[in-house]
């Protein structure tokens, strides 16, 4: 009996890979990470491979490291694999040459993804795999999840036989994340496919002292070339080996594949050639067009390398006259993309060659055109396939075309009919669901697919589209069900969905979701409005569509049902029940039983109460789901408005707003910046209104401490100081209060104002507020209050606040929280998670140094909430100054930032040289002042900027090339603050080599490590910053090793400023660290504790967690300032006291640690004991370092060496005492 599973492409690949390998070296990268996660979790739970042993899964520091480890494991005779994508694959290239060069069998599974060029993209195309064509790896393309599973095995079998390593690739997201129903391969089939003799031969080739050899020699001009040619027979033999393997697979499973699979009319004249998921869509279109009588065909490329021209030609109908070759990649400057050129070459070679010998396959050389499609998961639809065939009909079809975009610059694009449909979905049920990221819509839909896939004969497909935000993201689920196999690898489009669900009423005014509804579709709306009033909440366009398309509408107040049944705010089961109740996809009773079974399966015995609550919610849902009576005409006055204000700049209105509205696909090429440059400050245009409640300031209670703006992750609460006289025209509800304290003139007033539509409602400002009403302890100087009634009033107040003048920076005492918080933040309203622990540090840096800052940002959370379109939180001040930002890569950020520093320094030096040269032609006093400027404080920096302006005014009057050059370089005479920002994955792992080099360089850069102790952006994988005993992906049994002490390593360089900070535990220490780090004329590194949702804590407890981390000794606070050495002082200054609570008190509050007591209690206890010893030891070690006598006569290294050899440290710790009681605080 055939067994089916409903899984996605990643899981399909990982299943075969885990079953057929012994060593798996991994590193997280989207969209390939889930393959590594599956493999890791299976090994962690004891799942064995085909030979009964549990594969060893090892996470490396980078893909380059993974490739090295794989090379080593392969050379030791182990069956070894990995999973990666995009830049990760590029990092493996050097080793791939080695692995292939040594004829080593392995399969790399690749969720193919775009390469970062003008911008990073996590989505799918073939740019990455195409960059590896020359490595000598075979390349096998899967087009759908079923093929992913099948080809994973075929590749594994073929590599063992051919000794040529394989790149098995499939389209990132479209295939890696598409959930589909597929037929499983049983273990016997796998066993039958893998020849034990070949495995043994691989083992025997492994390096061993029992039969030693030398491999990896260095060769010279005399023999290298010959040796390189020696592998040819292996590549010549390979296509036949792969075909034989495919044939053997067909015998075992009934699924027959060819190196090139032809589909369509055997007499076709026009053929499209492509590989990957696009071939599935083309397959659907060709089937349809053929039935319409068109002589068309499709050639699916399976084995792309080695490229068998013979097999290609054999597969093409002899009648072929015109061919369009589609590449999902771009090779700028090339005369066509790779697959196109391969096809042209193959046909041309045969044509030329055969003319001399036998009859060529084609009477005349076919017309061959090449085109690009689908870059970064751009939609590729049957309408586009039709357009390509239509193009082929033309006398001179366009070569080097693009399809799917509007290229009004190079005019490469061909038009397509967006309304074209095949008949493939006439019997398919198509449904779309609009949900909020955190509301469980996606998980509920995955569940529905499984229910239908596993309890019926129906085929099922699910694909999920996410937006770029982390907080308040919209998710659109596309589900298809039907009795026929589903080839569509494209989204459900306008007019196609029989079912449209809106899980959040706020989306009604944002997305025209009923565009997607088919005639007589069912529309389900979650709304708090009564069923008789819900009609009035719909925008007019939507009402019209309901009338025009005869749409049946249902409404439910899912949040009420959830609340009443004890489900809190979890509406996923409720909405899922509604879907089954009204879609008619399954008989209602069967569906309800199936949902209940699924709930039971998910929570089982361990979540009995949750099961009961879900059951209650399911039953209650049916009682609360109502059909809405549709009136005869449109009554609504609500219009879907532009997502940005009319006053926004052209670019924001024409590009940014369109992307926000979900119409980015329609933006023509000419509107896009060709070098990836975008304006700042765009997040401010995107009013997301996420907060249910916002803080309200009680000015009478407030002591103006400035803590609230300091902790705000979204810069949504700010303070400003203005003269009372400036406030005459303030709106009535605008609050302000006379300044307290003596640092400001008497007539000054302060205002703390909230941006009501940008606040995410995290409540951290209220949490940190230290002031309570003396007669009502629950009332603070800030209190949360419902947003809707305040929205308009506070919007006006916010606008008023923004236009108030900024306080003179040079007159502010930067060393106080109150003072520094008056500085304008130049990082605002990011899409980071609600309560994010990273963003307050970035915002603080922009407040202090934003007007002179250049940022090198490592890939990760901070590059995503910092630079993911449509908008950016990085912004500029009224003078137009602000942080200039760029994200190079993940692995090279430190070097990238160093390059920026080196260039700035070089330009400064050059400018100073020119200034000296031109001195006689300029105001010499001015020149002297510029050359000798003191820029150590805000006043000095401002004065220098003024001087530079004066200088430039003089320079333009001098007609001299040197003066012109100096004018260009003059800005470098002013101070620039270079910031290198990234997470722990970058700083501790993939970028550590570069970071180390930059620390050693002595150059003036400021490194900010946002330490979440885990790879947050890719979903919580272990990094070397992960603490001992923490459970994370890739260490599901708890991380068995201690967190790397990056600060200690950095302190080993005597010229590096090092700070360990946690703003929620000691804000003033954080502030000082930032000021000192920036002031230090050399490398500085701030390692900043950043609570993250990956810790398994509610981020409303962000500050508490920071305090616990510090008090328990997990996160000691200190500053290591080399400036102090000059005065003969010890550079290390401890800012937190000895651990005052047991480490247990900290770890028990975070799920990442506490869950281990439920899975591996003994390990958990052991790790805790070790960790407790480590934090105690660390504190004492640091205290001793801080207490050392440090003067110029003793070298630092010698001083440390003295400490290292002092027996006292360990002896005294063992006694639980310390000889050195001197603690600095």
């Amino acid at each position: 009996m055939t067994r089916t599973v409903t899984i996605d492409g990643n899981q399909a690949a990982a299943t075969v890979a885990h079953l057929t390998n012994e060593v798996i070296a991994i590193y997280p990268i989207t969209p390939a990470s889930p393959m590594g996660e599956w493999a890791d979790s299976w090994s962690a739970s004891g799942q064995a491979n085909l030979w009964g042993t549990i594969p060893e899964v090892i996470e490396m520091q980078s893909e380059a490291g993974a490739a090295g480890a794989i090379h080593g494991a392969l050379q030791s005779g182990a069956l070894t694999t990995t999973f990666t994508a995009s830049q990760g694959l590029l990092l493996m290239i050097p080793n791939m040459y080695k692995i292939a060069g040594e004829l080593t069998p392995t399969v790399f599974h690749i969720a193919a993804r775009s390469i970062a060029c003008q911008a990073l993209s996590i989505f799918g195309d073939h740019s990455d795999v195409m960059a590896t064509r020359a490595t000598g790896f075979a390349m096998l393309a899967s087009n759908c999840p079923q093929e992913v599973q099948d080809f994973a095995l075929i590749a594994q079998a073929a590599t063992l036989q051919s000794r040529v390593p394989f790149l098995h690739f499939f389209d990132g997201f479209r295939t890696s994340h598409e959930v589909a129903k597929l037929i499983c391969i049983d273990d016997d089939t796998v066993r039958a496919m893998l020849d034990e003799n070949l495995i043994n031969a691989h083992r025997q080739r492994g390096l061993s002292p029992a039969h030693p050899v030398l491999r990896g020699s260095s060769q010279n001009p005399d023999v290298y070339f010959q040796a390189r040619e020696s592998v040819n027979p292996y590549y010549t033999a390979m296509p036949a080996i792969v075909q034989q393997t495919m044939d053997q697979f067909a015998l075992l499973t009934g699924r027959q594949y060819q190196l090139f699979d032809y589909v369509g009319d055997p007499q076709a004249e026009h053929v499209v050639i492509l590989m990957g998921s696009g071939a599935e869509t083309t397959h659907e279109a060709v089937d349809y067009l053929q039935r319409q009588g068109e002589k068309v065909g499709l050639l699916k490329v399976r084995l792309y390398r080695p490229f068998s021209a013979e097999a290609l030609l054999k597969a093409l109908p002899k009648t072929t006259r015109k061919i369009a070759v589609l590449d999902r990649t771009k090779e700028p400057g090339a005369d066509g993309e790779p697959l196109y050129k391969d096809v042209v070459t193959a046909i041309a070679q045969q044509f030329c060659h055969n003319q001399a010998e036998t009859k060529p396959q084609f009477a005349t050389m076919p017309v061959i055109i090449g085109g690009r499609y689908g870059l970064s998961s751009k939609e590729f639809t049957p309408g586009m396939v039709k357009a390509i065939f239509d193009e082929l009909q033309k006398d001179s079809p366009k070569n080097h075309f693009t399809i799917g975009i509007h290229d009004d610059v190079s005019n490469t694009s061909i038009d397509w009919d967006a309304h074209f449909r095949t008949d493939a979905h006439e019997e398919t049920f198509q449904a779309v669901f609009y949900g909020l990221g955190s509301d469980g819509t996606v998980s509920a839909n995955k569940n529905s697919i499984k229910i239908i896939g596993e309890s019926t004969e129906m085929q099922a497909q699910g694909y999920f589209v996410y937006d770029s935000k982390k907080a308040g993201a919209v998710t659109i689920s596309h589900l298809r069900f039907g009795n026929k196999s589903i080839h569509a690898s494209y989204l459900i489009s306008d007019g196609d969905a029989q079912f449209v669900a809106c899980h959040q009423p706020i989306f009604l005014e944002r997305y025209p979701m009923l565009d997607m509804a088919a005639d007589k579709a069912v529309f389900l709306l979650n709304s708090q409005e009564d069923k008789d009033k819900v009609w009035d909440t719909l925008p007019a366009d939507m009402q019209q569509q309901i009338l025009d398309k005869n749409i049946k509408m249902y409404s439910i107040d899912a949040y009420s049902v959830a609340d009443n049944t004890g489900m809190g705010k979890r509406i996923n089961t409720i909405m899922q029940t509604c879907f089954f109740a009204i879609s008619g996809i399954l008989p209602r009773e069967d569906a309800i039983t199936a949902i209940k079974d699924a709930v039971q399966k998910t929570y089982g015995k361990k979540g009995k109460r949750i099961v009961e609550l879900n059951y209650q919610a399911i039953d209650e849902t049916l009682a609360c789901l109502h059909e809405v009576t549709i009136p005869a005409q449109v009554t609504s006055k609500i219009e879907i408005s532009s997502p940005v204000s009319k006053d926004a700049p052209d670019f924001v209105r024409n590009v940014t707003a369109e992307i926000i509205a979900g119409r980015g696909d329609n933006i023509p090429v000419s509107f896009m910046p060709s070098d990836g440059t975008f304006p700042l400050g765009t997040a401010a245009y995107e009013k997301r209104n996420l907060a249910l409640e916002i803080p309200v300031w009680e000015e009478d209670l407030c002591t103006q401490c400035g803590k609230c703006p300091l902790v705000c992750p979204h810069a949504a609460i700010r303070s400003k100081i203005v003269a009372e006289s400036e406030l005459q025209d303030a709106p009535e509800s605008f609050k302000h209060r006379a300044m307290l304290g003596k640092d400001f003139p008497k007539d000054m007033h302060i205002s703390y104002q909230v941006a009501p539509e940008d606040c995410t409602g995290c409540g951290l400002c209220v949490d940190i507020c230290p002031i309570r009403d003396k007669s009502n302890a629950s009332r603070k100087a800030l209190n949360m209050s419902p947003q809707p009634p305040l929205r308009n009033q506070e919007r006006r107040n916010w606008e008023y606040f923004l236009q108030l003048p900024e306080y003179d920076r040079s007159k502010i005492k930067t060393t106080t929280i109150k003072g520094s918080m008056v500085f304008e933040p130049l990082f605002e309203f990011s899409g980071a998670c609600v309560g994010c622990g990273e963003t307050p540090y970035i915002r603080l840096a922009t407040q202090l140094f934003g007007d002179r800052m250049i940022v090198a940002n490592a890939t990760g959370c901070s590059s995503i909430y910092g630079g993911n379109l449509p908008t950016t939180p990085w912004t500029k001040n009224k003078q137009g100054r602000g942080p200039a930002w760029n994200n190079s890569l993940f692995e090279d950020n430190a070097e990238f930032g160093l390059g920026i520093r080196v260039a700035a320094d070089k330009h400064r030096e050059q400018a100073r040289e020119l200034l000296t040269t031109l001195k006689s032609q300029l105001d010499t006093k001015l020149v002297e002042e510029i050359l000798n400027a003191d820029e150590t404080d805000e006043a000095g920096i401002y004065a220098q900027r003024e001087r530079i302006v004066k200088l430039q005014k003089q320079l333009v009057k001098i007609d001299d090339s040197q003066a012109k050059l100096l004018n260009q370089l003059a800005e470098n005479l002013g101070r620039k603050s270079i910031w290198i920002i990234g997470g722990d994955g970058w700083a501790y792992d993939i970028g550590y080599g570069g970071l180390d080099h930059v620390l050693a360089s002595g150059r003036n850069v400021n490194i900010l490590v946002l330490d979440t102790e885990v790879y947050s952006n890719t979903g919580g994988q272990t990094s070397k910053a992960t603490p001992r005993g923490a459970v994370a992906k890739f260490s599901s049994g708890g991380k068995p090793t201690a967190k790397k002490d990056l600060a200690l390593l950095a302190m080993d360089y005597d010229g590096v400023y090092v700070a360990h900070v946690a703003y929620g535990a000691k804000d003033i220490q954080t502030l000082r660290a930032f000021l000192e780090a920036e002031a230090h004329d050399g490398p500085s590194i701030i390692i900043a504790y950043s609570p993250c949702i990956a810790h398994g804590v509610d981020l409303s407890n962000n500050h508490r967690q920071q305090q616990l981390a510090v008090k328990s000794g997990h996160w000691p606070l200190f500053r290591f300032d080399p400036e102090r050495i000059k005065d003969g002082k010890n550079p290390l200054h401890l800012d937190s006291a000895e651990p005052s609570i047991p480490y247990r008190e900290f770890v028990k509050t975070e799920t990442r640690f506490s869950m281990l007591w439920h899975t591996h209690p003994e390990d958990a206890e052991r790790f805790l004991e070790q960790a407790q010893r480590e934090v105690t030891h660390r504190y004492h070690y640091y205290r001793q370092l801080a207490g050392l006598d440090w003067n110029d006569t003793v070298s630092i290294a010698a001083t440390k060496a003295k400490l290292a050899t002092t027996e006292l440290v360990t002896t005294d710790l063992d006694n639980g005492q310390s000889t050195n009681k001197k603690t600095e605080s």
Partner: protein, 337 residues
């Protein structure tokens, strides 16, 4: 030789010292130490329905609902398949105690819902509990609920659980009842085989630094036993079921007083946490010595001999005794009267 044996909830016990629900039962070795020191039975630490629910919700929140709807991260934690829940751990511990100890193990349960009491009560019975102590703590802080309704909650809960389990049930009560005699009589009528007086719970405390309310549990003192002894003496005459005193049992004198008032057993906790299991040995030795010195034959003989009915001055249990108390006040040294 004085006979220390007693009967509690129908269980024959070798003496009246039964360690109460405490962390000492969380570890098998410390439970064995209690047995070795002479404990005649052990009450396991409570199974809290609230904790089960909290864990459920936690699991739901951090594992099943962790998606933030971002393309790169569908979740942040590996969902553990081999997760051992709080309830499973508790039941496993109960089974372990049963297999390692010769003395009876009484399970303690703190439920919050009718369904929860029955489900978890049955689970504890199935795991081998010799009896069930219902650690009912319900604060009547709802202005719409009168005292009768509060009492009815207890009775209905007992009734339903009684109909589902076969092991004896004892009710651990708080002192906050206006008419304990009829109420406990009702409990007895509805199946309670014992009454334990009184439970001690975490008390909210105001942190003077932060003004936050924090829950605290301080260890008891002998002083606290007096309220319990008084009510034992009063209830003894009206109930046929077992009586236990819990709270403030620190030394043999506390134990003797409780027995004199009518307790069948006394539960010790704070004293054991302070002094270790050997405290039981000390108390038993002193108890025996006192009984011998005072020529008692058995604990049975002593039990209830100073109940209200048998007391030298029965009214003393009832009166507020302000006058006497004031009389007994001695002014500090150096204060002139």
């Amino acid at each position: 030789m004085v006979d220390l044996s007693t009967e509690y909830l129908g269980l024959k016990l070798k003496n009246p010292i039964v360690p109460s629900s405490s962390p000492l039962s969380k570890d098998v070795n410390s439970a064995i130490a209690l047995e070795d020191a002479g404990a005649s039975a052990i009450i396991m630490h409570s199974l809290f329905e609230e904790k089960i629910n909290y864990e459920n919700e936690h699991f739901e929140r951090f594992f099943h609902q962790q998606s933030i709807g971002h393309g790169e991260a569908e979740g942040f934690h590996p969902v553990p398949e081999d997760y051992q829940s709080y309830q499973e751990k508790h039941l496993e511990q109960l089974s372990k105690l049963k297999s390692q100890l010769d003395i009876p193990v009484i399970a303690s349960l703190n439920g919050t819902t009718p369904g929860g009491w029955i489900e978890y009560g049955s689970a504890l019975e199935a795991a081998g509990a010799d009896a069930l102590e219902l650690n009912v703590y319900y604060l009547a802080a709802d202005p719409l609920e009168d005292s009768q309704q509060v009492e009815t909650r207890y009775i209905e809960l007992l009734q339903s659980l009684h109909s589902h389990v076969n092991v004896p049930i004892t009710m651990k009560l708080s002192p906050h009842f206006s008419a304990l005699i009829p109420f406990t009589q009702q409990l007895q009528k509805n199946g309670a085989k014992g009454i334990a007086l009184f439970n001690r719970f975490y008390q909210p405390d105001i942190n003077l630094d932060t003004l936050q309310i924090e829950s605290k549990l301080e260890l008891s003192s002998s002083q606290e036993s007096l309220l319990r002894i008084r009510w034992t003496a009063i209830l003894f005459d009206y109930l046929d079921c077992s009586l236990a005193v819990t709270g403030g049992m620190h030394n043999h004198e506390d134990v003797l007083k409780a027995l004199l008032a009518g307790a069948d057993v006394t539960h010790m906790c704070s004293a054991l946490l302070h002094n270790g299991p050997s405290q039981i040995e000390t108390v038993l030795q002193n108890l025996k010595q006192w009984l011998e010195e005072h020529e008692y034959e058995s604990v049975e003989q002593l039990k209830g001999s100073s109940s209200r009915q048998h007391a030298i001055d029965p009214a003393a249990y009832e009166r507020s005794n302000y006058i006497n108390v004031l009389d007994s006040y001695t002014s500090p040294d150096g204060v002139l009267r």
